[in-house]
Symmetry: none
Subunit: 203 residues, 4 copies
């Protein structure tokens, strides 16, 4: 029973949530993670620091929330082929990681994760799990379609697809163009298909 009814006292002002996230997002894009300060965020939002900490437990949580704000992905539509589905999925992941805010926040979030297992678990169970589930659907479809002789491991597929995108956006200098996304999806689709025909393993 989670419902607690209207709590006593003055209710939170939802305008503040928006103002804070907006300010955080702007500062993130302007200055980079470490140069965003809670004081500056509060000042730009026209808000007290306490109002922020009432909503977000730490700078990391705030900036994470700011970066992922509005990042809901559509369920992966069936394109008719594994390759097409992976290409669509690559597009989704790419868009999500390519925003300025996301590019700033991601490295800092990784750093935070290595120190804060709770945060790590939370991210695992949301973003990673969601993407993996989508991949599962895609691979199951490919199995039914006959492309894959076995459904295969969605975690492996996720690693193979997401890893290159992740690295390309965060580590490499230039942007990722459409052709590159095509190639990535293409190689991985072919690879997974060939791999599924190989000897099954116990894992």
């Amino acid at each position: 029973m989670l419902k607690s009814g209207p709590r006593p006292g003055r209710p939170r002002d939802s305008h503040i949530d928006q103002a804070v996230l907006k300010a955080a997002r702007e500062l993130l894009a302007e200055s980079g993670y470490t140069r965003v300060t809670m004081d500056a965020t509060a000042a730009r939002a026209g808000v007290g620091k306490a109002a922020i900490y009432r909503r977000f437990g730490s700078k990391a949580e705030l900036l994470f929330a700011a970066a992922v704000h509005g990042m809901d992905i559509e369920p992966p539509a069936d394109s008719g082929s594994l390759r097409g589905d992976l290409r669509a999925m690559a597009q989704v992941i790419h868009e999500r990681l390519a925003t300025p805010a996301a590019r700033e926040v991601t490295p800092a979030l990784l750093a935070e994760m290595s120190r804060d297992p709770a945060l790590a678990a939370r991210l695992q169970s949301t973003f990673v799990a969601r993407e993996r589930r989508d991949l599962e659907v895609i691979m199951e479809r490919a199995h039914q379609r006959g492309e894959l002789s076995r459904p295969g491991d969605p975690a492996l597929a996720h690693l193979l697809l997401g890893g290159p995108l992740f690295v390309a956006l965060l580590v490499l200098p230039g942007p990722l163009d459409e052709d590159r996304l095509d190639d990535i999806a293409s190689v991985i689709a072919a690879g997974l298909i060939a791999h599924a025909s190989g000897p099954a393993r116990s894992g």
Copy 2:
């Protein structure tokens, strides 16, 4: 003519370079990036802070240098197959990224890179370029062997191979086991081979 001869004044003590990097590496493995302090590093190295700042412009530069210190990779031996070569390459990359120091420093380094183009360029021209060159050799060998109908793009291969390893180490909780490395190398080898047989593109 870059040779400048022995500069005047007392030369830098190379023992200090070693002591500082050693202290930084130890503290990094013990405490994590943010908990390494310049004071503690100087104290453990038995060195003044100025001696550190004379060598490294900031904490980020120091810890980067400490993490990558001595990370030379051997030229990729020919295993007889593309799949085998990729598997060996995966092992090398994995070992390099899996050290405690590297795991601590990498996220902070990514954050720094997005703000310091000089640092980014430096990393590109060393680590990334070196790995890419190795991949180029591997793919050329596969081409000569007849596995690949075209030599292909080493940058794409690098992305496909390194990306999953990178992400696995930084984002995923557990370690990467041998089977996973096998799978990754296997899928990518198969995918590259299939991809090379497809229609050539203008890019």
Copy 3:
């Protein structure tokens, strides 16, 4: 209308003012000016450094405030003679300058004054002006008493009385004994009386 009402935000904690000044005074007496550090002061006061810098712009300001804290002098009582009044005044000035804290701070303060006119002005308008005013009262009394044919210049009297005490405490090794104070007051009283009988000058 200067009244500004209660400023917004959390008000300063006056306990901290006291704790900081107390800690600074103690350290000053224990260690001497240069060996008092802001960190040590903050630590002993159980206070963050920022709280100190919020109140005192620099180490010099803090230690000055610590040294002069609570140095209020009583109005000079009428002893019945100029000589007696000057002797009492000498006692007061001497006591003020002879505290360990004052002996430590004074030289540093002088150095600071030559570079910071605002600090100099502040000292002029408090300590110097107050002592001079007291001398003025003393000389006026002596004039009314008939000891001085003219009231005379209190600034001159202040210089003549305070100068020797100041120098004795800062330059000379040993302490000033009672006899010395007697002599100083005696010579100056006699000198002022004789001087007042001389020809008036235009200045």
Copy 4:
């Protein structure tokens, strides 16, 4: 037997002594004691720091030497009266203290003295002792002249004369004009004369 013959090795370059003192004096007048640094002094003098430390044991010694450089006082000429002699003596002391370098160095020197008894003793035995000896001559002359019924205590006279000058120059804002020096000498002369006629004391 202090003479040790020509020491082995390269003899000191006396041009350096001059260059160092000149640089120190300039920096002192420009910036104030604490802002003079040994590095800056060495740089301006075109000299290594070691060459300075070979000549002066510390910053305090260097700046003291720089400030008092060339400050030899002539023996006090007989003006025909105690008042005249004191006036001349006041002039000498004033000139010595009024140089920009002296005004900067004196407070810092006082601070140093309170911590370094050796330095204090050295100053006592040079400047203070020399001025006191001159006063002794002056007072003895006044005694012989009949102005003073007893020779009196030169240390007291020194305090009475030097103290006001010291304070006027270092503590008070404005300059000391001629009239003020007249007044000081006049009051003290009269006071000493009156004091000498009073009851002798054992001290």
